[in-house]
Each structure stands twice: as structure tokens, then as C-alpha cells.
């Protein structure tokens, strides 16, 4: 559903948009690797004892990588968990396949934050650093959403508005890309697009 809407928009908005969108998930501007992080959020936890976090790590590169560890300003300990059936269990690392993605989502794999230093509230931001087996670490600013937030639920008006802004940003706010689809400054559209997308975590490399 969401993807269909998006693809219609992408088709209508010419190659400029496609180029800009392609660029936004592409973190190869610094030449190191092909990992990028998006869709990060933390549901506001019930108590100050533990919290979960979700995000998607896309791997545009040709080599597999693994999410090896996570640290955060919020928690004394951040662990990687998978959910198999009804059982949640800790794992050492998680695979990020080449030309694929690692999806941490509600009901599936997730980050578990323990020994919280404060209780995160909706509107707060939690800072994380993701470390990988091969790639350089990535810093992520993870927004805290409502306790019932579901990124793909139809009820979230944020979804449609984030799409609108995604499109408008790609077409309007990347003048260099708009003038020339094959801009010689891809990193400009790439970076601005990433950082100002409201539903994506902002991302930077240390």
C-alpha cells in the first residue's frame, strides 16, 4: 500500500526525484561502505527500567556486514534481541546482507535498552552509536514516539505527511540536483535529504 503510493509519486516526479531518493539512502559519499540507517524510533516505555528501539539498516554495498554492538546515552546496556515465535532472546550480532537490509521492527528483532538513566518521553531523542563487524560506526538520533506508535499503521498521519515532505524535499530543496539530475555534487542532495527527513533518524558518521 505504502509502496504503491510511493512508486506512483516517484514515477510522476521524474528522474530528478528518483535520483534524489536514490541518493538519500546512499551513504557512499565518504567512500567507506554502503550502510545507511532509517526509520529509527523508540516507543515511549512504560517504566524507567527498559525500552525497545527499532530501525532499519540498509546495505547498498556488495559485502555482508553484521550489527555487532550498540551504545547509547540513555542506557547502561543496549542488547540485540530477536523474537522467535513468542520468545524473545538476546543474540550476539545480527546479519546485514549485501544489497539487503536488517529490519528491526515491533514483533521482531529489536534493540533492548536496560539500566536506563532516565525515562524517555515522547518527543525526546536518544543518541545511539551502532558498531559493525566491518563498516565504520554510525551515530543515530532516535526519536521517542508514543507508546502505541506504529510506523506503518494507517492511523499515523505522520506517515502521509512524511511522504509529502520526502517528495517535496527531494524536488524542491535540492537545487543542485534539480538543475542537473546527474549533479556532480551528489553528496549535497544525499546529506540534506537524509538529515531533514522527519521520519528518519538523522545520521552522521563520527
Amino acid at each position: 500500500m505504502r509502496r504503491r503510493t510511493a512508486s506512483a509519486a516517484a514515477l510522476a516526479l521524474t528522474a530528478v526525484l528518483a535520483s534524489a531518493l536514490g541518493g538519500c539512502g546512499d551513504s557512499d559519499s565518504d567512500g567507506s561502505d554502503g550502510l545507511s540507517v532509517g526509520s529509527a524510533y523508540m516507543p515511549q516505555p512504560v517504566s524507567d527500567s527498559m525500552a525497545a528501539g527499532f530501525l532499519v539498516i540498509a546495505n547498498d554495498g556488495g559485502a555482508d556486514d553484521r550489527l555487532a554492538s550498540v551504545t547509547s546515552d540513555l542506557a547502561g546496556e543496549v542488547t540485540l534481541h530477536t523474537t522467535v515465535g513468542q520468545t524473545m532472546g538476546q543474540v550476539k550480532d545480527l546479519d546485514i546482507p549485501a544489497h539487503g537490509e536488517l529490519v528491526l521492527e515491533s514483533g521482531g528483532d529489536h534493540l533492548m535498552f536496560e539500566e536506563l538513566k532516565r525515562k524517555p518521553r515522547e518527543g525526546d531523542t536518544v543518541s545511539l552509536e551502532l558498531r559493525f563487524t566491518k563498516s565504520d560506526p554510525i551515530k543515530v538520533e532516535m526519536p521517542v514516539k508514543s507508546a502505541t506508535y506504529q510506523p506503518s499503521a494507517a492511523s499515523s498521519s505522520a506517515r502521509s505527511s512524511s511522504h509529502a515532505s520526502h517528495a517535496s524535499h527531494a524536488s524542491l530543496s535540492s537545487p543542485s540536483a534539480a538543475r542537473s539530475p546527474h549533479s556532480s555534487h551528489p553528496s549535497q542532495s544525499s546529506h540534506s535529504s537524509q538529515s531533514s527527513h522527519p521520519s528518519h533518524s538523522s545520521m552522521s558518521r563520527p
Partner: protein, 224 residues
């Protein structure tokens, strides 16, 4: 150079691929949810059972440390029951918060009488009674909705009760590092005030909207 390859790929590949690369990351399960919500009525979160479950004969301890006889206390009252545990960062709080938010929405509904609203019982039965004492349950539920009935007791009793409504849970296990792994139920069961039978199931992907839409029917014992 690499950039140009990317652009070309983006043009030729479906836009889905492009967007996934951007990390919009709606996973497959997300799509299912979106489809359910997009076509209201055709593909519901609720599963109405042909053969309803009898209410489990559970006598446990509530958050005040008092004896709570589930059948006796909820007789003739619309009741939602979920089996979960408080050291659960994801599905358990999400499920309980979805119901709690839907209950708040119900409170605003003028079509539903005050008596009907007050009759709703939401029951959380722990699957990890060793860690979820009355006090621990009470503290956790206070962060969700203090009106929720939180129940604890012996694991065997809880497991047997869950089994009668088709929910299979195993006792928490502790690994060599002392990490406890617990299980939660996969479904919320709605019991009718008319028959006291469990006649509707909700899976983990049921949203606030699903519960909000269905609660007015559930509290009357009607099919959502």
C-alpha cells in the same frame, strides 16, 4: 561514478527498491497492517470464533495482593484478557497500551452508556510470575492504565489457564548469564458480557484503531 550507477539503478529498478534504500523500511508485516487498515471492514484485525472459549477458571492474586477469582469477578462483564510479562520491552507494553488508549477513546464515545463503559474489564495475566509480583505488576500497569487488573500466581496455574483458551506458554528460562527469557501470549481474547465466553481474538498486529473501532461492540457482546 558510483553515484551515477546508483541513479541508473534507481531508474530501472522499481521505486520500492529505491525507497527501501532510503530506509523507509516498512517491513513485510507493516504492509499487512497497512492493508488491513486501508480497507476497513474487509480484512479485520478481529477473529470471531465459531466455537468460543470458556473463560479460564483462574484464581490468582491481584496487584493489591488480594485473591482474584477471574470467573466470579468478571461475570457478566465484557473482558479482555492478555498473557504477558512486564520485562518485555516490545509486544507486551504495545498490546496493553493499544487497549488502554482505545479505552480512553471509548470514554469519549457518547453512543455508549456510562454503565457500559464502566463494565469493561481489562486483565493482564503474567507469564513470568517469579519476577512479576503483585507490586511489580502494579507499578508497571500504573504506567499504562491503573484500572487494568494485573494477576500473578503459580506458573503452573497460569499455564493451565492459558491453555484452555488456546494460548501456549512455557516457563521462563534462565541462561548461564542469569538472563531470563520469558514468553508472552500471542493473542488478546475478548469475552462476552452476555455469555462469558471468549468469542473474539486479536493478534499482535491489532492497532489502537482496531480496538477503538471494536470496543463499542465488544462491551455489548456483539460481533465487531
Amino acid at each position: 561514478m558510483r553515484k551515477k550507477t546508483c541513479t541508473v539503478a534507481a531508474l530501472f529498478a522499481a521505486a520500492t527498491l529505491t525507497l527501501s534504500a532510503c530506509g523507509s523500511g516498512d517491513g513485510d508485516s507493516g504492509n499487512t497492517v497497512a492493508e488491513v487498515s486501508a480497507e476497513a471492514g474487509s480484512d479485520r484485525a478481529a477473529t470471531v470464533l465459531d466455537k468460543p472459549f470458556e473463560k479460564p477458571d483462574l484464581v490468582l492474586t491481584d496487584t493489591q495482593g488480594k485473591k482474584y477469582d477471574l470467573r466470579e469477578a468478571t461475570q457478566g462483564k465484557p473482558t479482555l484478557i492478555y498473557f504477558g510479562y512486564t520485562n518485555c520491552p516490545d509486544v507486551c507494553p504495545l498490546t496493553m497500551n493499544n487497549i488502554a488508549v482505545a479505552k480512553k477513546e471509548l470514554a469519549q464515545d457518547d453512543q455508549v452508556s456510562r454503565a457500559e463503559k464502566d463494565s469493561l474489564r481489562i486483565v493482564f495475566v503474567t507469564t513470568d510470575p517469579e519476577r512479576d509480583t503483585s507490586a511489580a505488576l502494579g507499578k508497571w500497569l500504573k504506567g499504562i492504565d491503573p484500572d487494568v487488573v494485573g494477576l500473578t500466581g503459580s506458573f503452573d496455574t497460569i499455564q493451565a489457564g492459558a491453555r484452555t483458551v488456546g494460548i501456549s506458554i512455557e516457563a521462563p528460562t534462565k541462561d548461564k548469564n542469569g538472563k531470563v527469557t520469558s514468553m508472552h501470549g500471542t493473542q488478546v481474547i475478548a469475552f462476552s458480557p452476555k455469555t462469558d465466553a471468549g468469542y473474539v481474538l486479536y493478534g499482535e498486529d491489532a492497532t489502537v484503531d482496531d480496538y477503538t473501532k471494536d470496543l463499542p461492540a465488544l462491551i455489548k457482546g456483539e460481533k465487531p
